[in-house]
C-alpha cells in the first residue's frame, strides 16, 4: 500500500501581485526521493518554502502526513501550535546552510533536540555524536561553524536536520554554494539517505545526480510543474532536454 506523506493541490503563490506559483499540485510518497529541476526563477524555492510554511500560499491545500496545513489558501491555515507540530515532520536544508554561528558544532545539533523535543543533554549529545560521526565531523564537535569548510558546513546542516527525526527531508540547492569536490561529498551523503528509504524532496541543478538518485523528477518552468515522472520519462521530454543542456 502506497502512502502519501505530502499532498499539495492547486497551489498559487503571489509576490507583489505576480503569480510565482500558478496552480501547482504534487504528492510525495513515503520513501521516495523526488528532485525538482528547472531554470532559475521557475519557482522551485518558492514551492519548497510553501510546503514547509516558510511562505504561505494564496490558494490551494497542503496536507502533510494526514495533517492539514492549509485547507484553502492564506486563510485556511491551521493554528500556530498545530503548524509547529506539522512542521516538525519536515526537515529543511538551506542553500546557504544557516548554521547557528554562536553555537559549537555539537550544540548546533543538540539545541533543538533539547528545547523542542525535550531530550536530555545526554540523549541529545549521543544522538548528535552519532550523526556527526556519520557526517565525518566527529573531530569537529567542539569547534564553531565558521571554522568549517563549505562541505562540512552543509553536512553539519544535514546532521542538525536529521537529529529532529523528520519524516520529509527538503533540500534547496544543497550544493550550489559549493565547489565540485565539496559537492561530491554532500551528494554522497544525500544519496546514502535516499538509499535508507528516506522521503526526500530535493531542488538541484545537478542533472546527473537527479537522474540517478531520484525516483521521480518534477520539471518546473514559469511557476508550473510542466512535467513529472521517472527520470527516463522526464529527461526524454524535449523541453527538459533543452533545459538540461543549458545546465
Amino acid at each position: 500500500m502506497r502512502e502519501n506523506l505530502l499532498t499539495a493541490q492547486g497551489l498559487v503563490k503571489r509576490f507583489e501581485g505576480r503569480d510565482v506559483l500558478k496552480n501547482v499540485s504534487l504528492t510525495l510518497e513515503k520513501g521516495e526521493t523526488a528532485a525538482v529541476i528547472g531554470a532559475s526563477g521557475a519557482g522551485k524555492s518558492t514551492l519548497l518554502r510553501c510546503l514547509c510554511e516558510l511562505e504561505r500560499v494564496d490558494e490551494g491545500t497542503i496536507e502533510i502526513g494526514g495533517q492539514t496545513m492549509t485547507n484553502g489558501g492564506r486563510y485556511g491555515y491551521a493554528p500556530e501550535k498545530e503548524l509547529r507540530r506539522i512542521r516538525r515532520r519536515m526537515g529543511y536544508v538551506f542553500q546557504d546552510f544557516q548554521l547557528f554561528p554562536h553555537f559549537s558544532v555539537l550544540r548546533n545539533v543538540t539545541e533543538a533536540q533539547r528545547c523542542v523535543l525535550g531530550r536530555s543533554r545526554k540523549e541529545a549529545e549521543e544522538k548528535a555524536r552519532a550523526l556527526l560521526d556519520r557526517m565525518a565531523l566527529s573531530d569537529k564537535a567542539d569547534t564553531y561553524p565558521c571554522f568549517l569548510s563549505g562541505g562540512q558546513r552543509q553536512r553539519l546542516a544535514i546532521a542538525r536536520m536529521l537529529a529532529m527525526d523528520p519524516d520529509i527531508l527538503c533540500f534547496d540547492e544543497p550544493t550550489s554554494a559549493l565547489d565540485p569536490q565539496l559537492t561530491k561529498e554532500v551528494l554522497q551523503v544525500i544519496r546514502s539517505l535516499a538509499e535508507e528509504g528516506r522521503t526526500m524532496l530535493i531542488i538541484t541543478h545537478e542533472m546527473a545526480f537527479a537522474r540517478e538518485a531520484a525516483g521521480r523528477i518534477f520539471y518546473m518552468a514559469d511557476g508550473r510543474i510542466l512535467r513529472e515522472g521517472t527520470p527516463e520519462d522526464v529527461f526524454a521530454d524535449p523541453r527538459v532536454r533543452a533545459f538540461a543542456q543549458t545546465e
Binding site: C52, L54, R84, R87, R88, M90, G91, Y92, F94, D96, Q98, L99, F100, P101, H102, E111, A112, C115, V116, L117, Y144, P145, C146, R160, M161, M164
Partner: protein
C-alpha cells in the same frame, strides 16, 4: 589654591565627591540595568507587524531621542507628580527619565542589530520546530548582542557623562559637589578632579567592553 595648600579642605572636597558618587553610580547602574532590557522590548514593539503598535513606539523613540535629556528630566520631575497627585523621590524621577531615554537609544541600536541577523537564521530555527520565543532568545538575541556591542558601548560612555545632568533638579551627584566647591572657592581644581573621576569611570567601562568583546570573539559572523 586653597585645596593644594590646605589638606583638610582637600579631604573635605574628596569626601563630598565621594558622596556625590553615591548618587552618580546608582543612577548609572539603574539606568543600565533597566534600559537595556526595556530597549529590547521597545525594539520588538517598534518592529511589530501590528502597525499601530509600531507607530506609537516610533513616536516614543522620536520624542525621547529628539528632545534634550535635561528637558525630559525636568518633565518627569515636575509634571509626573502633578499627574499622579503625589510627590516623587528625586532619584527615582531622575532614574526614570534616564531609563526611558536610554531605552529609546538602545532600542534603535537593537533594532538595527536584529535586522542585520540574516532572515535565514529565524527560518532555520523555525524549521527545527522552535517557537518564536525560542528562536528569539536562543538564536537572534545572542547574535544581536555581538553586533550591538560597539554602539552600545558608545551609549554607555555617554551615560557616564550624562549623569551630571541631574544636578539640574538639585540631586547631589558628583558634578553638583564639584561645581559647588568651585563656586565657593574660585578654584577650578574640584571640576578637574571630577573630570578625572568621570574619565576613570569611562576607562573602566572601556576595559569592561573590551573584555566582553573578546569573550564574544569566539565566532565570526
Amino acid at each position: 589654591m586653597k585645596y593644594l595648600t590646605d589638606s583638610q579642605a582637600f579631604f573635605g572636597l574628596m569626601n563630598q565627591l565621594w558622596m556625590g558618587l553615591s548618587v552618580t553610580l546608582p543612577l548609572f547602574f539603574y539606568t543600565l540595568i533597566f534600559s537595556l532590557p526595556l530597549g529590547v522590548a521597545v525594539a520588538l514593539l517598534r518592529m511589530s507587524r501590528f502597525r499601530p503598535v509600531a507607530f506609537v513606539t516610533r513616536i516614543y523613540i522620536l520624542v525621547l531621542r529628539g528632545t534634550p535629556l535635561i528637558l525630559q528630566i525636568f518633565a518627569i520631575y515636575f509634571l509626573l507628580p502633578k499627574l499622579l497627585g503625589h510627590s516623587m523621590d528625586r532619584m527615582f524621577s531622575a532614574s526614570l527619565a534616564f531609563v526611558l531615554n536610554y531605552a529609546a537609544y538602545f532600542a534603535e541600536i537593537f533594532r538595527g542589530g536584529l535586522e542585520s541577523v540574516p532572515r535565514g537564521q529565524r527560518e532555520a530555527g523555525k524549521m527545527l520546530g522552535m517557537s518564536r520565543t525560542q528562536v528569539f532568545f536562543r538564536i537572534l538575541l545572542p547574535q544581536m548582542a555581538k553586533r550591538c556591542l560597539l554602539p552600545v558601548s558608545n551609549e554607555v560612555v555617554t551615560l557616564v557623562k550624562d549623569t551630571a545632568l541631574v544636578t539640574a533638579i538639585a540631586l547631589c551627584d558628583m558634578y553638583y559637589y564639584a561645581k559647588r566647591a568651585t563656586s565657593a572657592s574660585g578654584s577650578l581644581l574640584p571640576l578637574f578632579i571630577a573630570g578625572a573621576l568621570y574619565l576613570l569611570m569611562n576607562t573602566l567601562v572601556e576595559v569592561a567592553f573590551n573584555r566582553l568583546n573578546r569573550r564574544l570573539d569566539y565566532y565570526r559572523g
